[in-house]
């Protein structure tokens, strides 16, 4: 099959994903969805945005189509294109078009990474027109009333050059995500990895140490995701210090001095 054709995972989330609400995000999402307003998820990497989307898809009983944006992603990748099959040209919908037709939730992860021309198709979908222009078919596709557009964006490491334009961000209801507070985060980590609560507490402490280093040589501290990874290693019998080094320190930096300092922190902690 043609490698450039995206085959979006169109699926209903069957069983309830584990998600701990951190603030008012569920209520806000519900209300936005009911009013057909698009949603912008802001927050650092690995803090639960994707998990939240899965949870909401399950809760609203809509299929979830996720597209991870990258700097080669064009509008055609989202909307669709002609393919040639057996000497005939056939139009194939892209993931966004499928979602618009099927009334699915379309989640565009890291929207700023995409090429600028994708905004052309997103803007009319994200305001009250709710239409998708399909230029090559000469059509304007009106969105199914169940359709929902959600995009994510990490303001942290984006430079000024890759900022979301005001005209884009002002179309969305914004939900701000951050790492959960210590207690909640330990509960999540323990539940996801199977380690006991005391170990999870220690790991969260370590995460806070790395987050203290943000801006002091680290671009970003350890995310909840990395904590879950480290705890999974620990649950499988790896020692805590080694797990912190392999799953967390090495994941956030390559700098030898920083790695050593993080080793000193974890070996002090356990």
């Amino acid at each position: 099959m043609d490698a450039r054709t995206l085959s979006p995972e169109t699926y209903f989330v069957e069983s309830q994903p584990y998600y701990e609400a951190v603030g008012q995000e569920i209520t806000i999402f519900d209300a936005a969805y009911a009013n057909r307003l698009p949603i912008l998820l802001k927050g650092p990497t690995g803090c639960g945005k994707t998990r939240f989307m899965e949870y909401m898809a399950w809760r609203l009983q809509r299929p979830l189509i996720t597209v991870s944006c990258h700097d080669d992603l064009t509008a055609s990748d989202l909307v669709g294109r002609y393919l040639v099959r057996g000497g005939e040209t056939v139009w194939v919908d892209g993931p966004l078009t499928r979602a618009v037709r099927a009334g699915a939730i379309c989640y565009l992860d890291e929207i700023v990474e995409a090429r600028k021309d994708t905004m052309v198709v997103i803007h009319p979908l994200a305001d009250d027109r709710r239409v998708l222009p399909i230029e090559k078919l000469g059509q304007l596709l009106e969105a199914n009333e169940k359709f929902c557009l959600a995009v994510s964006y990490n303001p942290g490491y984006q430079s000024v050059l890759k900022d979301l334009k005001q005209s884009t961000r002002q179309r969305f209801i914004a939900l701000e995500f951050d790492y959960p507070n210590a207690d909640l985060e330990a509960r999540i980590v323990s539940k996801e990895s199977g380690v006991d609560r005391a170990t999870a507490d220690q790991l969260v402490k370590f995460a806070h140490m790395t987050r203290n280093l943000k801006g002091n040589g680290l671009e970003e501290g350890a995310s909840t995701r990395l904590l879950v990874h480290a705890c999974k290693l620990i649950a499988a019998g790896v020692s805590s210090v080694v797990a912190c080094q392999a799953a967390i320190a090495q994941a956030v930096t390559d700098d030898a001095e920083m790695l050593k300092a993080m080793y000193e922190l974890s070996s002090s902690l356990f």
């Binding site: 294109r81 040639v84 000497g87 090429r115 000024v160 050059l161 300092a261 000193e264 902690l269």
Partner: protein, 702 residues
Amino acid sequence: MQTTPFSVAEFIAILEDLLEVEFTFHKVEELAQAYERFSATEQHYFLGWIRRIATTNVEVAWRFAHRAPKAWAHMDERLLDAWAVHAMDAYDRKGLRAAFKVIDEVDQFARLSHAEAVGAVFGEIAGVLLTFVRGLSGRPLKLTEGDASYTDSETLFLPPVIAEMVTAEDNFALAKAQVALLWAQTRFGTFRHDLDELIAKFSDQERALRCFHALETIRLECCLARELPGLYREMLRLRETLGQSRGSAWLPFEERLVHAIGIEDTIQLLPKAYVTEMPPRLCYEGELRVAAIRETLAKRQAREKMLLRIKLRELIDKAQEQPDEGCAGEKHFEVRTIGDNESLEMELLLDGQPIVPPDDMRQMMTSIVLDFGGIPPDYLFPAGDGEYDPRLLVGSLKDPDEVWQGVYHEDGAFLYPEWDHQRQHYRKNWAVVREKTVTPAPIGFVEETLAHHAGLLKHLRRAFEAMRDDNRLLKRQEDGDNIDIDALVEALTDVRAGHEMTDRLFTRMQRTERNMATLFMVDMSGSTRGWINTAEREALVLLCDVLEILGDAYAIYGFSGLTRKRCEIFRIKAFDEVYSTQVKERIAGIQPQEYTRMGAAIRHLSQRLLEAEAKTRLLITLSDGKPDDYFDGYRGPYGLEDTRKALQEAMRAGIHPFCITIDREAHEYLPHLYGAAHYIVIDNVKQLPLKIADIYRRLTVR
């Protein structure tokens, strides 16, 4: 290199030259004899150091030369290097006397070293330990070399070498334990009680202080055992290895303090401890210096009270800007701590509603909680209008002399190393850089320039337009956005004729996204006064005009300075600023200032450039090519070499530096100064934008 050692006579001649005996009248005969017994390699090594130190100060070099032969018996190269560098650092920071002290105390330096020189040398461990301590919670601390291990509650001091243990690993572990214990003092409230007042009650105050310190150390050990059990195990191990303990008389205190809540428990036990036999100082214990603490505390507390109250006022003012949340309520602030006793998590409430304080304010609140165990009620009264003189606020920003020892960002100052080519070492945290902005001047200058160069501008605009993202239509692709009709027709014909059908049937737009960020660094030193300054400003006006066509990210900064403590960077246009009237007025307002400390400017602006996200980063310097700072030797080779080094650093970081020298003659030192960086010399403003268009084109061609 020669293989036989110098004779005494030869050595005398060399020393006479290095130590400038003509002026200093030092007697070098005896000195030369002391070096007779060394091999040629060793002699060379010593002479290398004497030469380097002499470039800093001849007297220090003389002392060094004097001490080095004897010291060599207990030292290896690594340690001797550390000693020499330490002496020069001491000279830089505190002057001749301090340098002499370091040299004279070489025995102490050497005593600390074992045969294998396993000492933990400050310069080598400081980086890791600073990061370590910043990772722990609390106030962002600084780490500096001192004469012992102690803290003033903001800076942790460590001795130049820690070598009480037998192995290098253990010495590092000891240094880490010392740092952790000092951190614990700031984190768990050792300074929450007035120590002067506390010991004043005792007749032997020194003894009282020592006992207090010992008790506190016990209490803090218990805190560390809870917070950092791994570290605590290490501390016990180190102590055991050295066979240290407080003795049985102190056992009851150790037991009493296991469940200590705070400093009060220590204070309660003090009278009893005072009459107990004094315990030995444990290896990680360090010192408690009341004077240093007193001074820092007083300054910080006054400053933080004022700043917090001003910030609260700002919060209120901001809240009142929002129409519906305004006026009602009495504007009462409250702070609630979340979690247990020593938790630093807290919530700020305004009239019962939680509000999120900005980051710097949160940090300040943490610092206040560390000092008082909470936020004192009188800190929570927002400052009244005009209650604080804004000048006080400026004064409360630290004096650069104070900040230059810390880490990079500090109260608006940035610290950069500088390359001393004679020492062949960096001077650490040497240049203090501050960012300012340019005083705007009437925009008329911009309009005149555009009008005056109208013809050139038309040409330039065309040139830059041609460089814009060009979208090329690629045909006969395996996949793409559209069907390539020509290819399809051919393919169908092929199929009919029984041939295999090609799959290259698509057209695709190829976008050459430029993805460049360019920073223009403009010389604002006094030597640009006159036509060079005008040329710079005109060039910037033309450049901005055409860069706007390209849509590439660009920034403009000016630089100047007077001595290493006043390196100034003038922001004219940051990457995230648009080319506004304000920016135009700033360009018009670029005025010659003082001297040129170019290295610091390159280092600082490289950082700015690295913050911009782009595939290609371009640093274009516009200067008259004369790095020069009159006051502390930043002229001649020193300035040239440091600038050259800074350019190399930039290139290593992936930046393309391009140096434009505006001058009427090309000086012969320029190729050396700019090294591998590209450069041109121009004497006509009209050439400048053209040249830059050229660079642009070259860098974007793949």
